[in-house]
Symmetry: C2
Subunit: 659 residues, 2 copies
C-alpha cells in the first residue's frame, strides 16, 4: 500500500502549473487533423449522434450539447435565474427558486444524473444537485424544462448528489460540509468534532411521474463527503461514498484535512435503511425544506414548505455503514458496469485501489475489521477488501468511467491526462494529455450497466491558451476523445458554459423519441389562459389589473391599454396561441423591473409590473417571429394615482372596451 | 418602380412556413461535406481565425464566437444579470443596471458595433444597444467586460442603434416606438399623430477613454425608426435611417402600418447638427437618464443621474433631414464600403433600391422634391436619388453587407436565402438557401470601408429540425458561408445564445494584441482591497460587518468567523491574490439571497448578505482552482440578534482575532 503521504499539499498545488507548462498546444499532426475533422463534423442539416448534458457548475444551470460536434444546443435553467427566457423572474417560475431561506437566484450545480431503468439510462429525466443550497432538481427530457426542485434539510454543500440507484428508486444527497443539526447550530466552530455531523438524504422518485420526496435521512460522522455512486447488479442494495477531512478539521483544510494517510469509502446499505424505516425505526425530526413543482398543465410552479424528515442515526444502527480505508482525500468512487468492483481515487495518492464487492461482503461477514471510527462504526481491513491497486496511474486521480470492452478511464487532475487501464489485469494501457486539469470525464452510459464506448469526454478546468483569449475571464472546456481504437485520440476541444463539472451523455434516439414540440392550447389549464383573441381583456379589482393578452403572428391583443395608474399591480398574462413547432413569442414592456417573457406555443406566462411613474409604455414581441414581427407592439398608458382616465383597451378597428 | 404593394401582409405572414417547408435538410453532398469539414475544423490547441460578436437578442448579452469553428468562447454580460459570474448581483456591478426607472435586470440587445478608426474596425471597443430600456453599452475588448452603460431619454425601443460614424465620433440611438415627450406623456393613445414624436440621440465617444455622453438629441416625426447606418468617405457627415409606420398608426400595426406603398430613408446631416449645437442653437431640455461606469481600477460601478439634454427639433431646422421614398416597411439601410451608395431593404417589397449619395446631394441642391412630410420636411424624388433597383432579389429583403470584391449580400427573411449581387450592374449573381428565416448577416468588416470577404454569416431566427430537438424551446442559429468562390457554399450550422440579432466579426489579431490577462494587485484601487493575507480581517460598525477576505490556492482567509448576528449587513470583500492567467476563485455562502462572486486574479469583489436566521453557514470557493479546491472552505456562525458571542475570526493555527 503505497501512498503519497509525504508529498506536501503545498507542493501538489504547484504541480498543475508545472505540468500544464510542458503541454504545448498545436502538436496534433495534419494527418490526424483531417481524420478528426471528418469525425466531429456534422454537416448542415444533419444531427449529432449523442446528447451531452453538462452541468454549468457555478452557473447553476444544465447545458445540452451535441456530440461529436460539441455544439451547445440549449442552456436549461435550473437553479439560477435566466433573463433570456424569464426563468425565476416571471410569475410562473419564481416559486421554483424558493427555499427555506427564501428566494435564492443562484446555485452551484455539479452532477447531472440520467434516470435509469435496469441500470441503463432511460432518457426520461435528468437530475442535478444544487451544491450551495442543498437541492436536487428534476428536468423533464420531453420538454427540456426543470419540472421539480426539492431542498435537503440538515445539509450543507450537497455535493455527493444526485446519484441514483439502479431503477431510480432513490437519489442520494450528502453533506460536503458537515454542520450541526438545524436549530442547534449556533455553536462555536471549534466544537466541530462534538457538534458537527454528516447527513445522507435518500430522495424517493415516483416511477411514473418522477415526483421526488425526501424518504429518509441518515446521520453519519461529521466528515466531508465528496462523491457517491450506487451499486448495481450484485451490489444493488448499496451506495458508496468518498469521505475526506476525516481529520474533522474546521480551519485551513488544505493542510489540516490532509494529515492522515487514509480517508474512507463509506458503504451504506440503503436497502436495510429502507427496511428499518418501514419497520418504524426512523425518528420523525423537525426540518424545514421547500418542495417546488412546475405543473405541466398550468406551466406554473407551486412551492410547499415541508416540516419534518424521518431520520436514522448510524450510532443507533451501526450495521448500516462500513468504512473501507482509501488513499487520502478521495474525490470519487465509481462502480464497474457489472457492479462487482468499486474504484476509488485518492486525489493526493499515487495508486488507484480497486475494491471488490464480494470481498467486502465477506469481510463484513468475517468481521475483518482494522478498527472502529466515530465511536462504533467498523472499518474493514484494507487488504481484505482490496482487489488490486492500479500502479502509477498518474498524479491527482479523480474520476473513472467505463467502456463496453473491459477498460476503465480515469482523469488525472494534476498531471492533466486521461489514463486508460484494464479491468482484467489492472494495468495502464494508454494515456493521453488533456488541456488542462480535468475534473470528471464522461463516457455515454459510462456509469451504467451498458456503456456506449465510442467517446470519452474530458471536462477541463483550465483552458489558458487553448482558445482565442477573452480577457482575464476564460471559458472552461471539454475535449472529445475517440476511444474506439487501441490508442485514444483527441478529436476536438469545445468550450462550455460555467464549469463543466460533470456530464452525462446518451445516444440521441433515447431522447428524441419522447420529444414534445408544443403545448396543446386545449390542454392549457393555466387560470389566466386566454384561449382565443376574442377573450382578450383587461380586468381591474382594486389596485390589481389583470391583462389577459394573446400573441399570434403578428399582433398582441389588446394592443392599446389606458387607465392603468401609478402603483397598480399589473399582471400581463400572455397566451401564445400558435400551434406549431418553433413559433415562440416574447413579451416585454419598457422599463419593467423584471425580465421578458418567452412564451412557447400553447403556453401562458405572467409578468408582474408595478409602474412607478406616469407615461406611455410601449410593449412588444421580443422574439423575431415573422416578417411583421417589428409591427407586433402595443402601448400602455399609465396615469397618476387617482386619475379619472377610464380603463380602456382595444385592438385595430374594433370598438374599444371600457370597464 | 415596382412595389409589392398589393401583396397582403397576412399572406406574407404565411410565406415563411411555405418556404421553409420546401427546404429539406441534409442535402449537402458527401464531397462537399469533406471539404467543409476541413474548412471549419480548428484542431485542438489551434486558434480560430476570427472573433464573431453576436448579440444575445432577448438574452440582453453579447457572445463572442470563434470563426470558422462556431465555438462559443464567452458570454459577456451586458444588460442582463448573469448568475454565472455575479454580474448585476454583486455590489461591484449592481449599479451598471441602474436606470431612471430603477434597477432593471434585463434588456433586449440587438446590434453589436465595433469601434472604427478611418472607417475600419479598430478592435478597441464594441458597443451594443438596449432596445427595451433605451441604453447603449460599451464593452472593453482588452478585458471583454462591459465598461459603461448610458441611458437615452425621450426614447422607447432604442433599435436603430448604436451605429457609429467613421471615427466613432458618435453613436446613434433612435426611437423604434415614438412616444410623447417625457413629462407630457400621460395622453390618450389616439392622439398619436399630434403628440407622439421620434427622437434621435447622438452619443459622443471620447477617442481616448471611450467614455460616452449624450451630445444632443434631434426631434423627428413620430414614425417608427428601424435601422440606421453612418455614411463614410464622401458621405461622412450623414447618418441614414429607415422608417416604417409612416402611417403613424397606433394599433394593429401589422395591417395599419403597411398601408402605404412607400416609407422613407431619412438622411440626417449630423455634422450640421453638431455645428448648430456649437452655435448654441440647441435647447437645453430637462431629461432624466442614468450613466453607469465600471471603474477599471476599483472594478466597481458608479451610477450618475443626468438631468438634461440639448435638443434640436427638425421643425425648426428642416435642413437637417431629407426623406427618400423607399419600398414599404424597410428594415435596413446599408452603405457601400466607398460611401457612395445606400442600399435600402423594404421587407414587404419585391425590389431592392440602391440610392446614390451624389445624386442625393444634387437633388437637395436642385430642390428636386416630390412633396413634404410632417409639415415642412422635404421628400426627395425617388427617381432623382435612385441609382438602380436590384430586380427579383427574393422575398423579404432585410439587410445587406459587402465584400472586398464589389459584391453585396442581402438576407431574404421570407424566402430564407442569402442573395449575392453585383455593385457593378446590380444583377443577382448567386443565391443560397439558409435555414431558416435569416435576419441580419455578417461579413467581417462588412459594414466598414475594408471588408474581409472570406465568409458571410447568416443569422437565422428559426431552426426547427436543424439540430437535435430540445423540447418546445429551440436554439436560434448562425450559418457560416464560404464566399471566396463564385458560388457561395454553406460550411456549418452553429447554435447561438438568445437571438443572434446582429453580429460583427473581426480578424482575431486586431483583438489579441490588446488582451489583458489579469489585474495587477498593486493597481487595485478598490476601497475594500486586502492586498495580503495578513491584512485579512473582520470589522464591525453598528450592524454593518465588513469582512476583508483573501483567496489564494487553496484557502480563504479568514476561514472561521463568529459573532455575526441575525439582521447584520454583512459584506464579504474578497480579493483574489493570484497573479497569473486563468486562476479565478469563486465565493459563495450557503443560503445567501444572491449569486456567487467570480473573482479574477488581482480583483476585489463584494457580496452583500443579511442573514435571516442563526446557524452555521459554510462558504467556499466555487471555481475548481487546484487539487485542493474542495478544501477551500470556511464557516461563519450567525447568532441571534443581541447575542453576546464576540466577533472572532481566524485561519489555521493562528491565534484568533477578537474585536
Amino acid at each position: 500500500m503505497k501512498l503519497l503521504s509525504k508529498m506536501s499539499p503545498m507542493l501538489l498545488l504547484a504541480a498543475p502549473l508545472l505540468f500544464t507548462a510542458s503541454c504545448k498546444p498545436g502538436k496534433v499532426s495534419e494527418t490526424t487533423d483531417a481524420d478528426a475533422a471528418q469525425k466531429v463534423y456534422v454537416a448542415p442539416g444533419k444531427h449529432d449522434e449523442l446528447y451531452l448534458f453538462a452541468s454549468g457548475g457555478f452557473s447553476g444551470q444544465l447545458a445540452a450539447y451535441g456530440i461529436p460536434s460539441g455544439r451547445l444546443l440549449k442552456v436549461i435553467p435550473v437553479f439560477s435565474q435566466n433573463p433570456e427566457n424569464g426563468w425565476g423572474y416571471n410569475e410562473n417560475t419564481k416559486a421554483m427558486l424558493n427555499t427555506s431561506n427564501g428566494f435564492i437566484p443562484w446555485d452551484d450545480a455539479h452532477h447531472p444524473e440520467l434516470s435509469k431503468t435496469n441500470g441503463e439510462d432511460d432518457g426520461r429525466w435528468i437530475f442535478i444537485n444544487g451544491n450551495n443550497t442543498p437541492r436536487i432538481a428534476r428536468i423533464d427530457l420531453a420538454t427540456f424544462k426543470t419540472a421539480e426542485i426539492i431542498e435537503l434539510p440538515n445539509s450543507a454543500g450537497n455535493h455527493a448528489s444526485p446519484f441514483c440507484t439502479e431503477n431510480t428508486e432513490y437519489l442520494v444527497g450528502n453533506t460536503r460540509f458537515s454542520v450541526p443539526e438545524e436549530g442547534k447550530d449556533d455553536v462555536p466552530i471549534d466544537t466541530y468534532k462534538e457538534t458537527f455531523q454528516g447527513n445522507v438524504s435518500f430522495v424517493k422518485v415516483d416511477p411514473k411521474s418522477g415526483r421526488m420526496s425526501v424518504a429518509f435521512q441518515i446521520r453519519v460522522p461529521g466528515f466531508n463527503y465528496d462523491l457517491a455512486h450506487a451499486g448495481k447488479g450484485p451490489s444493488h442494495d448499496w451506495m458508496f461514498f468518498t469521505t475526506y477531512n476525516t481529520e474533522q478539521a474546521h480551519t485551513l483544510l488544505e493542510v489540516n484535512a490532509s494529515q492522515k494517510d487514509k480517508d474512507f469509502i463509506m458503504a451504506l446499505n440503503w436497502k436495510k435503511a429502507e427496511e428499518l424505516i418501514a419497520q418504524g425505526k426512523g425518528k420523525k425530526t423537525p426540518a424545514k425544506y421547500a418542495h417546488n413543482i412546475l405543473d405541466e398543465n398550468t406551466h406554473t410552479a407551486t412551492s410547499t414548505m415541508e416540516n419534518s424528515v424521518m431520520v436514522l442515526d448510524v450510532k443507533d444502527f451501526p450495521e448500516l455503514v462500513y468504512y473501507m480505508p482509501c488513499p487520502k482525500s478521495p474525490h470519487g468512487v465509481d462502480i464497474t458496469p457489472d457492479g462487482e468492483f468499486m474504484v476509488a481515487s485518492g486525489k493526493l495518492a499515487a495508486t488507484l485501489p480497486v475494491f471488490s464487492f464480494k470481498k467486502m461482503l465477506e469481510a463484513i461477514k468475517n468481521k475483518s475489521y482494522e478498527g472502529k471510527v466515530a465511536g462504533n462504526l467498523p472499518v474493514l481491513k484494507y487488504e481484505s477488501v482490496l482487489q488490486a491497486e492500479v500502479q502509477k496511474p498518474g498524479l491527482g486521480p479523480l474520476h473513472t468511467e467505463f467502456d463496453d470492452k473491459g477498460f476503465a478511464y480515469t482523469t488525472m487532475f494534476v498531471s492533466s491526462e486521461v489514463v486508460k487501464w484494464s479491468l482484467k489485469d489492472y494495468k495502464v494501457v494508454d494515456r493521453i494529455p488533456v488541456y488542462y486539469s480535468p475534473g470528471h470525464l464522461s463516457i455515454p452510459g459510462g456509469d451504467s450497466k451498458k456503456p456506449y464506448g465510442k467517446y470519452v469526454i474530458a471536462l477541463n478546468k483550465i483552458t489558458k491558451d487553448r482558445y482565442l483569449p477573452t480577457g482575464p475571464e476564460l471559458t472552461q472546456s471539454a475535449q472529445l476523445i475517440d476511444i474506439t481504437g487501441d490508442k485514444m485520440k483527441v478529436l476536438l476541444d469545445f468550450p462550455t458554459i460555467g464549469e463543466p463539472h460533470y456530464a452525462q451523455s446518451i445516444p440521441a434516439e433515447k431522447i428524441v423519441k419522447n420529444q414534445k414540440r408544443f403545448y396543446k392550447i386545449e390542454e392549457n389549464k393555466n387560470p389566466f389562459v386566454t384561449s382565443s383573441e376574442k377573450d382578450a381583456r383587461v380586468v381591474r379589482k382594486g389596485n390589481r389589473v389583470d391583462i389577459y393578452m394573446t400573441a399570434i403572428r403578428s399582433h398582441l391583443a389588446p394592443d392599446n391599454i389606458e387607465g392603468v395608474q401609478v402603483g397598480d399591480e399589473v399582471y400581463f398574462h400572455v397566451t401564445n396561441l400558435e400551434q406549431d413547432w418553433d413559433v415562440p413569442h416574447g413579451f416585454a414592456i419598457k422599463g419593467a423591473n423584471t425580465a421578458e417573457l418567452l412564451i412557447m406555443p400553447g403556453e401562458t406566462n405572467t409578468l408582474k409590473w408595478t409602474p412607478s411613474k406616469p407615461g406611455m409604455f410601449p410593449y412588444y414581441c421580443t422574439d423575431f417571429c415573422s416578417a411583421l414581427h417589428q409591427e407586433m407592439q402595443g402601448y400602455l398608458r399609465v396615469s397618476p394615482k387617482g386619475s379619472s382616465t377610464p380603463l380602456k383597451y382595444g385592438i385595430g378597428t374594433k370598438v374599444e372596451h371600457q370597464q
